[in-house]
Amino acid sequence: MRQLSSCLTHDDIEPLPSLRQMGEDDLSTRLGRMQTEAWETLYLDHRRLVRGVLASYLGYVADLEDVTQEVFERALDLVASGKVRPSGDASGMRAWLVAIALRLARAERRRRAKHRSDRRAAEFEPAAVTSGLDPESWQVLRRAQALLAKLPERLRVPWVLRHLEHMTLEEVAASTGVSLATVKRHLTQANTRFARLARCDAVLREHLTEGGGS
């Protein structure tokens, strides 16, 4: 499992040593007690994961951080209201946050679709993040997103979580609320269909060949 400690370098908050060493059970207990430091640790450790899930759903847009924040706020509300008790293990925590992120991403996409049909759509449309990657890489990424968008959600979401976010099958199952067997079946179908679409795409085809696109 990819550990998200690398995210910490992206932020200028330096967690206190005692919090860095916080164990999973300890973190869960502290979250339940609504300790600010625990929530901050949760945020720092899972921000990259949540952003990744949202990006694959909504695109690499500038207001991604806003929606990411909403995911953590929703999580906080759920725990504060007593509806949810934070999971004791890291895997369950990841799955829980991703499930919230997916729900919010769906709502956000509906909201954007609604505003797009509005006359003032341009006003609400967030700008795409275009800096950093070279144009060729952007092209590959955008083409892949376009092809993924053609897959039904039940296939696309497991594919993204498994291949882009490197989640385990169990985590994918917990996040999407289906059984392990169903996840496996959906992943197989998604792999097949995505590969078929990629072979028909001029940009992605070369990445399917030996040494291409590297």
């Binding site: 694959s56 951080e65 504060a80 993040v129 030996e210």
Partner: protein, 320 residues
């Protein structure tokens, strides 16, 4: 060639680009929303939630850990400072008599003379000797998006939204905090929402007092705001000449006869503009509003228009 290997290679390449895109977009995202605001917001939410849930209270924590977080200390100090300002200003406003504290029918004489409502003995010191002047560069008074009861501090303006009604204990009212809109968007989340039952005396007032007590809005020609009713409000601008001497004004007779204009609100959000020249005092032949000597702005609800329920947003001056 093994198809599975090719698919796995493509997936790995996409994962790599996905990672790179998220990391490379970081500076731009940071510029979009500065991270301290997010962290502070999260911490604030946690504290608020902790107040209602099982708490490991602040007092029981290690204070060294608390002070190791400089941003938290700075944020707390800022919050305390804002609280002190709000309490001070609200307390000051409470000591001042609001726009319409007297029942309208009790005013004497029934037909005021032109000079009566703005009489200013020559011996009195002019409160507008110290005044801030708007230069027309920032017409927006408050869009309420900051979620606090303060108006936007610009062009020397400062004030706190407050509401009081005839059923309140005199001199006892609270700052009016904006309410989250039911259909909030990212650009428009908050507005003032006021509602209440039937009032029998002079009604209700939603207003802010300008500090210092005299403001020169001569660069502007009127007020504009968005509102949703249905209902009727009177948009009022109080000039210093209608404020009694004992409260820092210059009025000695028939005070608080503010300049106002009736506005009928529709059931949908609409923008309303009221020119200063259209605002009138009660009676007739009264002097026109002197925009260079403004003391406060308010929305008044008359007893006849109660019960009331309306929203106000994007209050701004209209540039000439």
């Amino acid at each position: 060639m093994n198809e599975h290997t090719a698919e796995a290679r493509l997936a790995a390449r996409l994962a790599e680009l996905h990672d790179a895109a998220l990391v490379s977009g970081e500076p731009q995202i940071r510029a979009y929303r500065e991270s301290w605001r997010r962290r502070w917001h999260l911490a604030q939410r946690a504290r608020r939630a902790a107040a209602n849930g099982p708490i490991d209270s602040l007092a029981s924590r290690d204070w060294r850990l608390l002070f190791a977080r400089r941003w938290l200390v700075v944020a707390l100090a800022g919050a305390i400072l804002v609280l002190i300002v709000v309490v001070y200003v609200a307390g000051g406003s409470a000591r001042r008599v609001p726009i319409a504290t007297e029942p309208l029918h009790a005013r004497q004489p029934q037909v005021p003379t032109p000079a009566a409502s703005s009489s200013r003995p020559a011996a009195l010191r002019d409160p507008c000797q110290v005044s801030n002047r708007g230069d027309g560069s920032h017409p927006e008074i408050d869009d309420f998006e900051d979620g606090n009861p303060l108006i936007e501090a610009a062009e020397g303006r400062f004030g706190v939204w407050s509401m009081f009604k005839d059923s309140d204990t005199p001199g006892n009212f609270e700052a009016l905090t904006p309410t989250r809109l039911p259909n909030a968007t990212r650009r428009n989340r908050y507005a003032l929402h006021v509602s209440g039952g039937e009032l029998l005396d002079w009604g209700a007032s939603i207003q802010f007092d300008l500090r210092p007590s005299c403001y020169d809005a001569g660069a502007y020609s009127g007020l504009s705001f968005r509102a949703k009713g249905p209902g009727r409000v009177y948009v009022g601008v109080r000039q210093i000449s209608v404020v009694p001497v004992e409260y820092g004004g210059t009025c000695t007779k028939d005070c608080y006869n503010v300049h106002q204009k009736k506005v009928d609100l529709s059931a949908r959000w609409e923008t309303y503009t009221v020119a200063f020249s259209d605002m009138r005092q009660r009676g007739y032949g009264t002097p026109q509003l002197d925009a260079s000597r403004i003391n406060g702005v308010g929305f008044l609800v008359q007893p006849a228009d109660t019960p009331y329920d309306f929203w106000i947003d994007d209050v701004k001056f209209v540039p000439r």
